[in-house]
Symmetry: C2
Subunit: 109 residues, 2 copies
DNA sequence: ATAATATATCGCAATATTACGATAAATATT
DNA sequence: AATATTTATCGTAATATTGCGATATATTAT
């Protein structure tokens, strides 16, 4: 059917999956890395930096905005994007909860 | 066109995206959590635990196997799946490199 | 007011993902 | 040998994602 059965999973599982999905594209990883490197940037910077069409970059930015990891401030005709630190830290915590709390990965078959 | 332009990104960006994509589904998160909780399990356990069809679980297991985070040992008619610790730690490192090395998330617009 | 600049959104085509029934393959049990 | 058990794979339908050109919108500059 092609649609994920979210109703059979926990809130936490769905939430983590949604976050990971938003991050799971090389363009979006590159966008985040560029924003971090430059502290902030506008859409057009990314168009030139990554070599993807403006519409495509805008769409990727939207997906990152959807999970809140970046936020955009309107500055004249352009929009200045930067990391939302609170969300960034929260996601880091969410990932750590998954990767560090689940440590007893020892016995195998 | 619907196909990611991997050639314009770095190896590291593509690799991280591939890893995240494999993890970015609630069923696969649930599978990993169950394996960790039980130390190991077989496909049928997951079918009963998650309530997805056997073919679907098998497909999700395959995607997790593809990034190496789990491995399966044949035991009679069943296959015992468990976490591959080396890969698990490597992925943790990869994520930390992204989320911890990139810390200066301060100045905003 | 007009033109330039920057971004968002629409619509589309190509491809990928999700889920499942059916079936194949391989071992275990009777 | 026949049957049961367990998993993998094939084929298919429904939906989602990716990327882009075209266009709408909104602000700035002339």
């Amino acid at each position: 059917m092609g649609v994920t059965k979210t109703e059979i999973f926990t809130e936490q599982q769905n939430s983590l999956a949604t976050t990971l999905k938003a991050l799971a594209h090389p363009a979006r990883i590159a966008i985040l890395q560029y924003i971090i490197k430059q502290n902030a940037c506008i859409c057009n910077d990314l168009v030139e930096e990554l070599g993807l069409a403006q519409a495509t970059i805008s769409q990727h930015l939207k997906e990152l905005k959807n999970i809140g990891i970046i936020k955009g401030n309107i500055e004249g005709t352009s929009v200045c994007y930067c990391i939302d630190e609170n969300v960034w830290q929260q996601i880091k915590k969410e990932l750590n909860a998954f990767f560090i709390d689940n440590v007893e990965v020892d016995k195998c078959c």
